[in-house]
Amino acid sequence: MIKVEHLTRTFGPKTAVDDVSFEVARGEVLGFLGPNGAGKSTTMRMITGYIPPTAGRVAVCGFDVAAQPIEARRRIGYLPESAPSYHDMSVVAFLGFAAEMRGLRAEAKKRAVAKAVETCFLESVLHQSIDTLSKGFRHRTCLAQALIHDPEVLILDEPTDGLDPNQKHEVRSLIRRMGADKAIVFSTHILEEVEAACSRAIIIDRGRIVANGTPAELKARSDRAGAVRLALRGPQAEAAREALAKLPGVARVEIVSDEGGAVAVRAFPDQAQRQAAFAAQLAQAIMSRWSWTIAELHTEEGRLDDVFRAITRPDTAREPAAPAPERVAA
């Protein structure tokens, strides 16, 4: 449904998006992750045809965005960053305008507006002028505009920005629900959102894709993935750490906490052993050697947060003097 090939965009000397390629199929929800200024919005603007790429091409539902912009845009619903809308209009007038721009008239227009209003919970502010609305309502009004023509492709730039936790949850489940029969790309820097709503995620950093995979695959790249977290009663923290570190298959052990009579430690397997059996082996080894009580034991999945921090650079970091070593793309 969305095919992005070697997309590049420069602003003067600065390369905002650098040779980005990916595809999104129907039924997929793609989370677009990255630090601020990584090129997320620029990529989305090129997909919707708002700004032309310096190089590369985008096709939406088989239509080239540069060559057949109208056909492509017809199939796209777009929520721009900061969710702009005409503030002097009422919610219902604004949605009516969006519906007309999408070629909907009379009954079809009325039905489309009613449905978008219902989906985005706007009934209570229908006739209010947009400039009197709270940020959450304004955001949802613009989201409703993106959904009004029931598009096949949805491009949502930070759809949950500025919403309260309940609204965030609503929007996430809405995205997941719609994802069943649409192709959706949404950007965010909230990592839990990716786990909650995406079938796939792309991490972009300084214009380049640095990771592309399902949330589970990405989490597996965390060095904590496959580590076993143990809570032990009996040993001293330091003694437990040293003893466990000597067990076969254990690469290293770190102390997580030492409170309330229990020691919590995290044991990392050496690479060869990164598998489910590690937890069982560890438990067996402990029980056969010492008389400690295992109060808690589980294998960690890894955290997206760690992966994100490991492969992207904060925007406060200085540019490296030499080119950074090639990162492994999934």
């Binding site: 420069t10 919707t48 700004i51 032309p52 721009p80 702009p84 809308s85 005409y86 002097d88």
Partner: protein
Amino acid sequence: MSARSRVWTVAKRELAAYFDSPVAYVFIVIFLLLAGFFTFTFGAFFDRGEASLGAFFMWMPWLFLFLVPAVGMRLWSEERRSGTMELLLTFPITTWQAIAGKFLASWLFLAIALALTFPVWLTVNVLGDPDNGVIVAGYVGSLLLAGAYLAVSSATSAMTRNQVVSFIVALVVCLALVLVGFPPVTDLLARWAPPWLVEAVAAFSVLTHFEGFQKGVLDSRDVVFFASVIGFALFVTGVVLRGQRAG
């Protein structure tokens, strides 16, 4: 959906935006007050002793010089400032359709303002027996003049997100369009420039081409002149909008 209905959808929203805000009413009241003031005071409407709207149309190029950029300054500046331009230009319409829609809406608004000067027309018809053909030509000319100023304002407003800057630049450009044909200026030029040059420069003035309409002459060359200014300025608007996005 046809191109015409897309343009109309944009125009309808734009026109509604004028009347949804107090700007429209403030503008119309000021326009009518000033038009009346210039006609009856400076124009010496009653002292002329003739049944015509000459005194009324004479001031149009000067009155519109300030008022039309005020109407046109927000056309694109506002869209850029509030970010709605990204929304508008990612709807399934071309940039030209958006430009045409917005221009037509504000032109229509000016036409409404102009139509509301009908009491002046009533006055001359009650007091005397004017040539209504001349008056119609005057109105057509005024509308074309407003369109030319407006198209210039559209271009300057596409260049900046600041409405004040847009207003001032539009005013300066429109002033230039007036002055190159303004007698005191052309006289100055005639002192050292050959007559053909003076004439060539004056040919670019709205004053030169507005003159015919005031006399009741509908010359196709004058119509073409105003249409060209409008077309060119709207083309510049499109180039500017495209250039900004291409970066």
